[in-house]
């Protein structure tokens, strides 16, 4: 026990300064004794757009959930800006996978975005006009302010994704964790999300984004983490996102399509 406590103090003081948005140390997560994430050690530098890339079942979503304390850790620790999550909740915003909720829920787009202000409102107090106004501004930022009053099942997949992004924006955090925001969205939404990410970066924010379209990684992200149960590589996109590393990540499963996409992106010809 004492040695563990000692280690914590040591680590916080020296290895995890307050300007590192996310530092993961020796993280292991197991589902029913089968490890899904194995000895993850990771530092994400401030102000980067970070892609988290890996094959299906590599544990990308699990890593995000583990960082946010949504699933129990078998071992390891996670620090946001040098401190555990419970002290940094206001700095961290989460964009879950779109499929994780029931879009038939009787609620409007605006009301979903307003959820981002709930912590600010606090227990038992009602939502006020100023909070709805903040939510409306966030919807404007993602370009769907005109759909604010719509029930959420009447939105397209891309619009639903934008609602989730707006909900995270309204939290005004410094660090964003996004789970597959580009999954099954239309071209217009993809453009909107990319420009949103760039805006966040310009404002000094950091984003960790689960991404599965290898062809666009170099175009959208300046930092990349290759994950397959363990970290294969992590660093600036130019140095880390290599064919060799990708083969290590995807094993024999790198599909021809993904490989071709990657080859094209290396030629500097973005697919669009």
């Amino acid at each position: 026990m004492t040695s563990l406590a000692h280690e914590t103090i040591h680590a916080t003081a020296h290895e995890h300064p307050a300007d590192v948005p996310l530092a993961i140390h020796d993280l292991t997560v197991a589902y029913q004794r089968k490890p899904v994430l194995w000895d993850i050690d990771l530092n994400i530098p401030e102000g980067k757009l970070v892609a988290l890339v890996g094959p299906n079942g590599a544990g990308k979503s699990t890593l995000l959930k583990a960082c946010l304390g949504l699933i129990p850790l078998t071992s390891g620790k996670v620090l946001f800006y040098g401190q555990p999550l419970r002290k940094q909740r206001r700095q961290v915003a989460y964009v879950p996978q779109r499929e994780s909720v029931d879009w038939d829920f009787p609620i409007s787009a605006l009301d979903v975005v307003t959820m981002g202000t709930y912590s600010q409102i606090g227990w038992l107090r009602p939502v006020r006009t100023k909070h709805r106004e903040l939510a409306r501004q966030a919807l404007e930022q993602v370009g769907i302010a005109d759909l604010a009053e719509r029930q959420i099942s009447q939105l397209s997949g891309g619009q639903q994704q934008r609602v989730f992004l707006a909900r995270a924006l309204v939290q005004e955090a410094r660090f964003y964790l996004m789970d597959e925001p580009f999954a099954a969205v239309d071209a217009a939404t993809e453009v909107a999300i990319v420009s949103l990410l760039k805006t966040l970066q310009t404002n000094g924010k950091t984003a960790l984004v689960v991404h599965h379209d290898l062809a666009t990684v170099t175009q959208y992200f300046d930092w990349v983490i290759l994950l397959n149960s363990r970290i294969v590589a992590s660093g600036p996109t130019q140095t880390v996102f290599t064919a060799d590393n990708l083969r290590k990540t995807y094993g024999g499963n790198l599909s021809l399509l993904a490989e071709a996409g990657h080859a094209l992106s290396q030629l500097g010809r973005p697919l669009s």
Binding site: K65, L68, G69, L70, R86, R89, V92, A93, Y94, P96, S100, V101, D102, F105, P106, I107, S108, D111, V112, M115, Y118, S119, I121, W123, L124, R125, P126, V127, Q151, R167, Q171
Partner: protein, 476 residues
């Protein structure tokens, strides 16, 4: 659609139930005196039932509110397991109170026992779920039946107990509108009011819990505690309803008002209010009717009233009801048929003018060419024409030739233009092959709003009617 069925709901459901129950229960009495006594109960003039009817009405409102969240959390079965698991607690509470020297029938004691064993049942479900690989539904089925069976056994044993009268305990199973003492009334009303208020105060937190638990957790909300709180409210409503509705059917009181309300609205707060209202009406009507039919189980009557409102909502609910949806679908179908007819005529006229080398005008076309143009049967075309004539879009139809009216011609050129703009958009911006585009455009153009048409014009930099990107004459 402009009729508001919920305004006449009470009247209809009342008369229907009265009709059903009349011959069974009060064959001797005349209809007039029966309705008179029903009115006395409904208007709370009858002292014997006043407290029961009033507390059941309040219970209905509270369970409508709590049930809305239970439904949205997809925990309906959990509520059912909880209520069934109350039964052993009633028997055990009775035994304890008798052992302590009381009569064993103090309501507060019985309900305390009921809620403790109900929550134990829920805890057992959660333990099974965490420690084994048995799935939720099986775990709930096991707990529900085992606790209920245990309760039946305990109740059977206390009946045999010498020196203590356990008669009446079994009324907690099916519900009974017995007369009530003021003290019990106070307890039940306080519980209903408290759980109702808690539910309304926590609307924001419960919405988060029901809609996106993981997100709530990521912001630091104590989701587990909120979940427990919600179950505690369900338990409170359940034990309040034990006497009047009974533990087998209380789940209907929790779920049905909320499910019925969902047909009327897409807004959670409105759904809450509606569910509360529907629950209150069901409680009021149901307990009143059952007060006049004391030999029928009260729970069953209350549930039937609720179910009746549910069926009306399912049919007429303006947001999700079956009828409004069918009407809307039919309307769209008719609109599409009309637009197809007008566009077909316009295209035929266009072909004629191209063949003649003349300018496009509202020429007469033949019925036969119209059938051929879109492979329509003559019968279908006759039907379309009949409808178009009603709207004054077609004139001079003599069975062989026909012509568009002035209004019809304007409408036809507008529709054709929208269709072609949309086709062009699909080809130029969505990269769809020209020979597929007609069918795709077909499905969308009927719902183009003026705003969307303006945007199309801007994108395509075109305000005239473009020519078709594929052959329109004869049949492609």
């Amino acid at each position: 659609m402009s009729v508001r069925p919920h305004r006449i709901l009470p009247v209809i459901s009342l008369s229907l139930l009265a009709l059903v129950l009349l011959p069974v229960e009060v064959a001797a009495a005349t209809a007039a005196t029966w309705i008179d006594s029903l009115w006395r109960v409904l208007s709370l003039q009858d002292y014997n039932t006043r407290l029961v009817v009033f507390s059941t009405t309040l219970l209905g409102m509270a369970s409508g509110w709590v049930g809305t969240f239970l439904l949205l959390r997809k925990r309906a079965l959990m509520g059912d397991a909880l209520s069934h698991a109350c039964l052993p607690g009633i028997g055990i509470a009775f035994l304890i109170m008798v052992a302590l020297g009381g009569s064993g029938k103090a309501l507060a004691g019985l309900l305390t026992g009921a809620s403790i064993s109900g929550l134990l049942g829920v805890a057992a479900i959660l333990i099974i779920r965490r420690t084994t690989t048995i799935k939720d539904d099986a775990a709930m089925g096991i707990i529900l039946s085992v606790f209920f069976g245990l309760g039946i056994v305990i109740l059977g044993m206390v009946q045999e107990l010498p020196g203590a009268s356990a008669a009446g305990l079994e009324s907690f199973i099916y519900g009974k509108t017995a007369s009530m003492v003021q003290q019990d009334f106070n307890l039940l009303v306080a519980l209903s009011v408290l759980s109702g208020i808690a539910c309304l105060l926590l609307t924001k937190e419960f919405t988060l819990l029901c809609f996106d638990e993981a997100y709530g957790r990521s912001m630091g909300w104590p989701i587990g505690k909120l979940d427990m709180l919600m179950l505690a409210l369900v338990a409170a409503v359940t034990v309040v309803g034990l006497q009047a509705v009974g533990l087998i059917l209380i789940i209907a009181f929790l779920i049905i008002p909320a499910a019925a309300a969902r047909f009327w609205t897409e807004n959670l707060v409105r759904m809450l209010l509606l569910a509360g209202g529907i629950g209150a009406i069901s409680g009021w009507l149901g307990s009143s009717i059952s007060a006049l039919a004391p030999r029928l189980p009260a729970g069953a009557i209350i549930v039937l009233v609720t179910a009746f409102i549910f069926i009306l909502s399912m049919l007429f609910g303006i947001r999700r009801g079956v009828l409004p949806r069918t009407v809307a679908a039919l309307r769209l179908k008719r609109k599409i048929g009309r637009q197809h007819l007008l566009r077909a005529i316009y295209e035929l006229q266009e072909c004629t003018s191209v063949a003649d080398g003349s300018a496009k005008f509202n020429s007469r076309i033949t019925f036969a060419s119209l059938c051929k143009h879109r492979h329509w049967t003559p019968k279908a075309v006759h039907r379309l024409i009949r409808k178009a004539k009603k709207e004054d879009h077609i004139e001079n139809f003599d069975g062989i030739h026909l012509q568009l009216s002035e209004a019809g011609y304007g409408e036809a050129s507008r529709i054709t233009r929208n269709h072609r703009l949309w086709e062009r958009f699909l080809i130029e911006h969505a990269d769809i092959a020209a020979n597929h585009v007609d069918r795709d455009a077909d499905s969308v153009e009927h719902i183009l709003s003026p705003d969307m048409v303006r945007e199309l014009e801007q994108q395509l930099k075109s305000s005239a009617t473009p020519s078709s990107p594929h052959p329109t004459g004869g049949k492609h």
